[in-house]
Symmetry: D2
Subunit: 402 residues, 4 copies
Amino acid sequence: MTIGFEHNEKTADLLARLRAFMAEHIYPNEKLYYQQKTEGDRWAHIPLVDELKAKAKAAGLWNLFLPESRHGAGLTNLEYAPLCEEMGRVHFSPQVFNCQAPDTGNMETLERFGTEEHKARWLEPMLDGKMRSSFVMTEPAVASSDATNIQSSIVRDGDEYVINGRKWWISGIGERDCQILIFMGKTDPTAEKHKQQSMILIPRDTPGITVVRPMTLFGYDDAPHGHMEMIFENVRVPASNLLLGEGRGFEIAQARLGPGRIHHCMRQIGMAERALEAMCRRVKERVAFGKPLAEQGVIVERIANSRIMIDQARLLTLHAAHKMDTVGNKAAKAEIGMIKVAAPNMACQVIDWAIQAHGAAGLSQDFFLAEYYAHARKIRFADGPDEVHRHQIGRSELAKYS
Amino acid sequence: MTIGFEHNEKTADLLARLRAFMAEHIYPNEKLYYQQKTEGDRWAHIPLVDELKAKAKAAGLWNLFLPESRHGAGLTNLEYAPLCEEMGRVHFSPQVFNCQAPDTGNMETLERFGTEEHKARWLEPMLDGKMRSSFVMTEPAVASSDATNIQSSIVRDGDEYVINGRKWWISGIGERDCQILIFMGKTDPTAEKHKQQSMILIPRDTPGITVVRPMTLFGYDDAPHGHMEMIFENVRVPASNLLLGEGRGFEIAQARLGPGRIHHCMRQIGMAERALEAMCRRVKERVAFGKPLAEQGVIVERIANSRIMIDQARLLTLHAAHKMDTVGNKAAKAEIGMIKVAAPNMACQVIDWAIQAHGAAGLSQDFFLAEYYAHARKIRFADGPDEVHRHQIGRSELAKYS
Amino acid sequence: MTIGFEHNEKTADLLARLRAFMAEHIYPNEKLYYQQKTEGDRWAHIPLVDELKAKAKAAGLWNLFLPESRHGAGLTNLEYAPLCEEMGRVHFSPQVFNCQAPDTGNMETLERFGTEEHKARWLEPMLDGKMRSSFVMTEPAVASSDATNIQSSIVRDGDEYVINGRKWWISGIGERDCQILIFMGKTDPTAEKHKQQSMILIPRDTPGITVVRPMTLFGYDDAPHGHMEMIFENVRVPASNLLLGEGRGFEIAQARLGPGRIHHCMRQIGMAERALEAMCRRVKERVAFGKPLAEQGVIVERIANSRIMIDQARLLTLHAAHKMDTVGNKAAKAEIGMIKVAAPNMACQVIDWAIQAHGAAGLSQDFFLAEYYAHARKIRFADGPDEVHRHQIGRSELAKYS
Amino acid sequence: MTIGFEHNEKTADLLARLRAFMAEHIYPNEKLYYQQKTEGDRWAHIPLVDELKAKAKAAGLWNLFLPESRHGAGLTNLEYAPLCEEMGRVHFSPQVFNCQAPDTGNMETLERFGTEEHKARWLEPMLDGKMRSSFVMTEPAVASSDATNIQSSIVRDGDEYVINGRKWWISGIGERDCQILIFMGKTDPTAEKHKQQSMILIPRDTPGITVVRPMTLFGYDDAPHGHMEMIFENVRVPASNLLLGEGRGFEIAQARLGPGRIHHCMRQIGMAERALEAMCRRVKERVAFGKPLAEQGVIVERIANSRIMIDQARLLTLHAAHKMDTVGNKAAKAEIGMIKVAAPNMACQVIDWAIQAHGAAGLSQDFFLAEYYAHARKIRFADGPDEVHRHQIGRSELAKYS
């Protein structure tokens, strides 16, 4: 019986295998990962990741994210949700399973909107885990939460497009394998507001691309992945690199954002679960004023509230995922917006409580908590800040009564 | 396909008929109900209710609450949830469908634990809507959130039990048709802590029962239903009135509390939905400082947050209901506790925002909001205050790591 | 030394006497007050109040509110604050000291803007405690938070003004001694927006005044004081009853609102202090799950937060009062707005926690808590809802950077 | 007149000069400071600081923190408060005025409890800005919020003490000028619980001291200041280095914590004010969806709430400072605890809102906000986590009713 959101057999099997893999290969290697990451050149490739990718691929835990495609594991969003949540428990683990942002969104974009040539050249190696990518949209000069503010230009010049603009928060550019960028800019600033934008493919090694600096989130630069500020000066690519046609950038953005947002939410839930687990373990061990923290009422209440908040957020995520599966990303827009607000706010709160239970250590490199907080806090901006989503949810609620 | 919590055919059909009934008979009669309730003797029976009950029975919208019984509509908790939510939108409507507390809990108790004689004498007329009942547990002298604190005595004397005690918050005693009480007290104060209590049936007209006064909730006495303080002095009933056996009061309490709690939660969700609807309608009409309240960002944000909170609470309620259906009330204890905390707190917040959108009128008799707030606030105490539930949820979360 | 907000000698003396009076005459009579209030005709005058008023007057605890006037006790707002807070601890006590709203605001209005004739006829008996009054502003048809929305008309006709309009939430009309109303309406709907309004004095017994019904706050009608809906139909008063001149209603409103708002806040703090005291006493007595509630961490934390919140709100109130004393009500507008938001929200929270510590009893007539909550909740609307004040505070903060 | 907390002449003069200094020398050099801090060896001394220190000393803005001493500026805590707040606006500025933690607390400790020899050798150069120091208390192995948990040993051996232990979060050890440590440990583990601890002076270059690693706060290591993990192995110092006598560590800790805590709070208020200023400036510039963020209701409401929260926290801080000045640090313990909870929680919220108004940029190195958040969050642990303070506040509130 499949009432509710119990896992079906396929999901249950994959989840069991994923958990086993994480228990065997991910958790025991977390320390090593941070060692390789912080020793020597912090922007160098991390060898451990390659090893683990090979193992995950061999274990059939690969490309689980891609629905409705002959590539990928053929999972629905609902089926993928618990797997994505599980991966979200360890910050570096999604890439081990080739399920990391922004590559997932980029692969989905290429799968849906790329030509056969695009797919052969970029999608195939990405699906194979040999190539990575970036999504280049946000600009420092304008409030990018309103995508119509974006000012970079993509100008046709014969058989080419010439691209100019300053971008930032471009995630993943730091990776050695990052070889292809999906860039959003204006092809026609005079067109109707939602038809000015286009998306175009730019190979990483095209002349005219400069990485200015890594941006930090709190004090984390997320090397070697990185969130970069970049300048594009007279960058030229063949006209065939334009996706779908001029003025269709918004259309593509809308299609890609739904899955991207819900994947973020699934991972937030995994992060929150792990923070709650850490909080429980910590307060059972730690004694202050003559009794374990676990016997102090305030702590117990926070644990209860965490459990309630996590379970509510998970159910809302699964509900949204199921809606995407059944009526499509566009019709599920309100549900996606709702969980996009609810999940990272929940995660911030749960992680903050877990930090508090750890004392100052909770803010340090000895626990994953501060780093997870930074990421959960960032997700409150990613793909639109809370306020933009709440505004849309509120407006659509009000629209029911006109 | 029944993934998620979509309504199945039976539920969808009943819900459509219930909505039609409410549109035709309930909403248009709200004003009349309050007129009959406030005019003349406020403690007199309200004739409108009888008329509507007859109509609901005729429409087959009757005893929808009772699962796993030849009586009732044979609905699971999950199937009943959206119906109960719908009834919850209007404070007096559950009784129209013979689905009102505390009668539902009392009927379920009789169905499960009553003898054939009990059933013939009390359950049948209750199922028929001819008789009502009270549940007599809470005491003024002790913190009744900890049920072991309860002090009233039930003492065997030959073929009878003699009952003594002071009780309060006894709901429904004000009703003309209230003819049977289920009373909880101690049969053996020396027994093991959870074996001291028993439950016994007391006909309303037994000598020795005094109603002291109605308790008020934020100024509301809920006449003619009422929440009464009562004295039981040497009240004598036949020994056969004892349910299940001496010392089994806790066992019965546990069995009855699950459904009672989740019904409360379902109704809270209906109340919150209606408050949100009222808020949306109000802010579209009302102009201040040159524009409708609906265009003011703070209001829109509250509407969005209300939608998110309601949907999360509903999903958690459905999840708990489904768990009750599949693994039983006892195994679903944690889920029931979680929703018992989440739903009324959510409802209090949503209703409070709706009040704020209505100005001072929102606190008055012109809208249902203040009265609903009072009831939602009360539910944070009913069947255990938030703190007790949170404590248990927190403890069981911690227990996972021992 | 008078750094900080320590009481000066005058205040310390009055406060000591006020506390002694309350200990002797107010607290011991609370029960009697509620008896007289609820027995028999609930709208009849309460004899106890007259007795206590005579005693307070004899004790020199009278008209403490009126600054800068030969009438009153000659206290500054800062000096009056702790006295007003103290009176606020018992809902009916301000009237015992002739310091009750809306009479205080009305007396202050007459003192500042009334003619000698107005003063002789209405102010003197009010200062003497022989007469009471109402302030008639809010209207059901419009969002009165924006006072320019007010629609009632005050039309000149020879030597008279003719008044028409529907008003509600008119407090104090139920009192036997209420004999004079200050009414706000439009004298010139075509004038510049803030010059359309005027205020006029209307004797209670003028023909054309109808009390439609009492409004309730939650379930409280505050009989015999009452918050009434009223109709004014062709009510005629002499032209000399107009205060200050046509079109100057806003000016008067602004002058009166400052003190009125801060008095509300002082009383809120007294209410919150008393709720905190009740919470502390309750949790020390009450045992659940084997230990007093006072030893349960969540309760202790709420007590600590209550103390922090109350002290912060008190300091902000004293700061605003001192600013009013030193730079005038108008220049202290931002500070008044801030405390108008902070105090009742703080009080609602503290009282709600106190309710929770009392169990369901906290919602009943056995404790003052639910009634205080209702009043604190109402103050979030009185003289402008939170949102209006926050909007102005935010705007003036932003204005610093233009 | 000095009612309230207006600045007296001395404070007003110092504040004006401090503001002028900051306008001329601090704000314009912030960028340079971060350049010197991040370029080359991140743990190297920052030359700019020396230059600015010389200027501040010349300007008479030096050692403002030390009350009741011939050293320092002779300011009371209340007089110092606005100056400390002002310095708190820029994270590196307190050291420019020789008012930085932990040196202030260490200087105060030496001033009060040091011998003449200690003062000549360490206090004088510290007051002169030539030497810096650390306070060594927190340990990784135990919940240091309960200071009786501390396990490091200080054992007498002839004319020396031998010190062993592992410590962390030792701030300032990274500084080139850090030459003296005040170390807390147990001299007698068998003594009465609060007499086991002592404090001892350890020159930085004593053999046996190892810096293990810098701890990070949300990714920030605060180089070159640093928060280090350290090992002390058979570190030997002369017996005369013990402060005040064996078993008096708690007494010293209590004396030093009051001022340290309130200085933190003053700086938090400065940080929050600056965050609010940044929020206001940002939202006036930034346009989304056709209008400046400053016209969006949610933003305006957050600005208003920030103003209310900051002003309340400042008043509570001033109140506590004044109490320390008039009744002493010990008698002002409750007030210090209250503001220790209120100020950093307020700052976290205000800064978080400011971050939200800046978009993802608010989390980056381009604004001071994320770094300030990290520090405000840390202060919720420094000198005891919120929970410990709330527990004590709550207990002492309850004690009023025994």
